[in-house]
Amino acid sequence: MALLLRTFARQGVCLSRQHYGVFYRHAAPMGTTAKEEMNKFWAKNNKLNRPMSPHLTIYNWSVPMMMSITFRGTGVGLSGAISAFALAALVLPGTYPHYLDLIHSLSVGPYLIGLAKFGLAFPVSFHTLNGIRHLWWDLGKGFRLPEVYRTGYTVIGLSIITSLAVAFLL
């Protein structure tokens, strides 16, 4: 106890030096929320017009990183497609079979149709399988690095296989 008090008494002089800040903060019964702190950070850096340090352009990309952003990208893409479909349903005259017939009448070759189906199926498949991987993480499992890579490659492999199967066999 005395040790603590002596330390704090000494700190009074040191408090003006910012790099001691972390060790010599006094606890007072008040606090800012994380949100407030984050807003302060962004407001200050925007006001001072500070450039952002390079990050995506210099950091070594890894498979987990790429899978993560692809997961996010497929999510945004699928969500956008669903919203576009819903908007079209509200705005366009005529019914769905009518527009399907329009697409059918374009008479595209079978492999292009297969490719288009693969293009639709793969985002759904990847997002679903990686979503399951995320739920597995939410249970607290599979965080060790070899496990992350193993589940990652499994998701990629299964996504391709199921997309091909759904596109060309169904």
Binding site: V13, F23, A27, P29, G31, I82, S83, A86, L87, L100
Partner: protein, 158 residues
């Protein structure tokens, strides 16, 4: 613990430290090695600051997190349901689950990348509008057109 704080304020010399009132906020104390001989006192300090916060927060964020997982699992179950037993109940459930899952998902993206109180509010309002229109459109499609399950089946039959 308050006694420690007040005593140390008295011990501090000069006016300068008063300018740092803003930094005198409760944070977990990072402890240098030579203080480890009194771990129980330091633990008490850390626990004390936690006790001040306990019970004053809301469970909203935690419940939101759980809700997101529940909807994800529901959506996973709706996949086979749509394939093996398509029906209006599945159509409308799919519309609801897809919209809500997408709404919360995009919400997380906005939280990650949009900063500043005003911008966040505008972005979330726009998202809410989009999700509402999406749900309305999907329900309209289910009611006035072939329905989601049939639509996918027809699309794939080509």
């Amino acid at each position: 613990m308050a006694a420690i704080v007040r005593l140390s304020s008295v011990c501090r010399r000069g006016v300068k430290p008063l300018f740092y009132q803003g930094t005198l906020l409760a944070r977990p104390l990072v402890v240098p090695h030579n203080y480890q001989e009194q771990p129980h006192q330091l633990t008490a300090r850390i626990h004390a600051s936690q006790a001040l916060n306990a019970g004053s927060g809301s469970k909203a964020a935690s419940l939101h997190w759980t809700g997101e997982r529940v909807v994800s699992i529901l959506l996973l179950a709706l996949g086979p349901a749509a394939y093996f037993s398509p029906c209006p109940a599945v159509d409308y459930s799919l519309a609801a689950a897809l919209t809500l899952h997408g709404h919360w998902g995009i919400g997380q993206i906005l939280t990650d990348y949009v900063h500043g109180d005003a911008k966040i509010k505008i972005a979330n309002a726009g998202l809410f509008l989009l999700s509402t229109v999406t749900f309305a459109g999907l329900c309209y499609f289910n009611y006035n057109d072939v329905g989601l399950c049939k639509a996918i089946a027809l699309l794939w039959s080509k």
